[in-house]
Amino acid sequence: MTTRAPLLSARGLKKSYGGVQALRGMDIDLAEGEIHGLCGENGAGKSTLVKILGGFVTPDDGELGIAGQIVPLGRPVDPALLSIVHQELSIIPHLSVIDNVMMGARDVRALYRRGPFRAHVRQTLDAVGLQHVPLDLLAEKLTLAERQLVEIARGIARGARVLLLDEPTATLSDGEIEKVFAVLRRLKSENATTIVIISHRLNEIFALTDRVTVLRSGRHILTADTADLTSDALVRAMIGHEVKTGEIAPSHARVGVAPRLALKDWSLPGRFAAPDLSVQPGEIVALVGQLGSGADMLLESLAGLKPGTRGTLSLDGTEATPRSIPEAYAAGIAYVSEDRAARGVFLDAPIGTNLVSQVLGRVSRAGRVLPSAVTALATELAQSFAIDPARLPHEVSTLSGGNQQKVSLGKAVALGPRLLLLNEPTRGVDIGARSEIYARLRALAERDAMTLLFYSTDLEEVLEASDRVITFYRGAMVRDAARAEVDADSILHDILHGPDEVAA
């Protein structure tokens, strides 16, 4: 594979943002028709590399050649040659799905007739699992996962020779991921498309890629055939040391005390009906289900975000049904959104401000914010979430995606809630940081007896972080079991097929 001349070849790419060196001299070669994995910690420079290759970021130094031609840097490359599925989605909310897919396509003329493209776009959408989405639907009506799939469909529909996908699976469930991967494999085999995929889920890397490149601190660490790599070797290359995964951690659930969370007749008509659920202090519960299973809505309803929810919610034996987010916070329930950029963090505010933003009362006296208290609390939170305290005055938007996620978590944990609700807690977080976060969450459960409920589409995460797993199918619970009693297969079975077949 390495003997052929590379289709794309980059040399000595350097990029710094202010004092932050995102890339410090990065080389990469991509062969025609290979699937190439790009791995590295949060902030390693993966997205920066991809954006430089696409011409969306101008590097400070370096060279780029595609198909034997020197490509000018910092000017968007022809999307029919090289196309990117961006980490921060580039879906345009007020355009229809078909317009979004056709965005950047070269054969759209000044007079834009959609007719000739409809069949092709329909096919592409169907292939990635969007059979149910009408072509003329406005993209703003799509869920996050559907937008991700539209973005992928766009990348595919352009038929580019090089397709770069930056964490395309972070918001997707396993079923959806499988479909996407099937399409990618077909692109490779039928069109000899060169595909680069970034993912923090190592199983995906091993399942899909031919070769892997690892970056660390903006530098090239290794490139190897995937077959020659082990999971441990890959992790070591990414973060420089081992990370323990896969063991079942002991539960810190307190028994013999009143339940922390007790739900009675909790339902949102037409969406979900939860069983009379009870969760102990210190317990970590994963809610698992596909989109539409109601598992994520159940989580949101507990934070008072779903008007129309019926039933009662008790915390530590007292009724505390929240009707709005402030009521939830007042009751000791905190919520972390899955949509980090739109609702999770204040991208344009400093990291420190973000971290204390939900506990302004605690860092102020008589209505006055105390700078020293802010610094102290922000530093403490930054340290416990492995955020570099030196960057506290910088805006969150300057952080890599994974580090932004840590800020989003840190600001909710700052509330010191009794019940912490997490929607996709480590979406886009690298494997090293992820185990740091799980350890931190576990410590909260142990030390403060905090109860955690999280919704995740990432089965690895579910298995690694939870004490107890509750699966959902079409609005109803399928199974409520201790972590030790389930494995990936059984969970997948539950959420894909529901209770009928469990019984069978």
Binding site: P76, S90, I92, H94, V108, A110, R113
Partner: protein, 308 residues
């Protein structure tokens, strides 16, 4: 939008009942004249809002282009018209380039241009109003077709239709909506943001200049004071017509409705001879009703209606 229609029809009914002349051809003609002036400026402004920007210089452009039209068009009206339109397009391009190159809010750049233009208007006027002695042309533009349509209103309606169609079926139109809807995503996904922004500003300058030139021809006069109230009204009309300040939302047809709401209101109030405070209060009240219908109260209404 349905509620805007209802508002419009309700006002039409009320004024028809209150004054038998509301539907008289002469009155509809004058309605068309106001629609034309405000409509052109609002249409241009709406395009800049659609692309996620805001052109404050439209009102001042009306004054300047009128003055150019008459100063250069005394002997040959086409020369004047061409000069006025070229000037409008040029200033629009300048607005667009400044906004794109400097990457600052267009409110700031067009604010500067607006002040500059109003000074330029006074300078052009040179302390005297500028009048037009080509009464043939003026009369031609004051002609009426089917006793309700004037050349100005026909031109305006045609432009509204053309812009509406262009937004729907051209790549540029798609890119304008994309650039306004989500600028960063539009850039990342390969839309031609620069040409979208530039075209919107050029159109805005051009339409405002056309409004000014046509006004000058119909009045046979141009002055630096013309167009003073237009900007605010145009913004009201555009927002009322469903254009969102955040960009990407709304279409020319909606803007036309917004413009009509304001024009019918003021036409009707003028017709029934409402006193100044009443005119102001009713203008405020109608706008307030329109926003309430879009805000939470309207949503409650719709929800409770849906519940029954």
């Amino acid at each position: 939008m349905l509620l805007r229609w209802l508002l419009l029809i309700a006002m039409g009914l009320i004024f028809t009942l209150a004054n038998s002349y509301f539907l008289a051809p002469g009155n509809l003609y004058s309605l068309g004249e106001s629609f034309s002036l405000l409509g052109l400026v609002a249409l241009g402004l709406a395009l800049t809002m659609l692309v996620g920007e805001f052109d404050l210089s439209g009102g001042a452009m009306v004054a300047v282009s009128g003055l150019i039209m008459l100063k250069l068009g005394e002997s040959n009206a086409f020369v004047g018209l061409a000069a006025a339109l070229a000037f409008g397009a040029g200033v629009g391009a300048l607005n667009g380039l400044l906004t794109l190159r400097l990457q600052v809010s267009s409110l700031v750049t067009t604010l500067g241009v607006m002040i500059l233009l109003s000074g330029f208007a006074v300078w052009l006027e040179g302390g005297q109003g500028v009048s037009f002695s080509n009464y043939d042309l003026t009369d031609a533009f004051n002609a009426s077709w089917l006793s309700v349509l004037s050349p100005r209103s026909v031109i305006t309606i045609a432009l509204f239709a053309a812009v509406g169609v262009a937004l729907a079926i051209t790549r540029l139109g798609r890119d304008i909506i994309a650039a306004g809807s989500h600028r960063k995503a539009a850039t990342m996904s390969g839309a031609n943001v620069a040409s979208a922004v530039l075209s919107a500003f050029i159109a805005s300058g051009l339409f405002a200049a056309l409004a000014g030139a046509l006004l000058a021809i119909t009045l046979g006069r141009a002055s630096s004071t013309f167009g003073a109230n237009l900007l605010l009204q145009a913004a009201s009309a555009a927002i009322l017509g469903g254009i969102a300040l955040s960009g990407g939302v709304g279409r020319p047809f909606g803007v036309a409705i917004g413009v009509l709401v304001l024009c019918v209101l003021n036409n009707g109030l003028g017709l029934i001879g409402a006193s100044s405070p009443v005119v102001m209060l009713l203008n405020g009240a109608v706008l307030l009703v329109a926003v309430l219908v879009d805000g939470a109260p309207g949503q409650w209404l719709r929800r409770s209606r849906a519940a029954h």
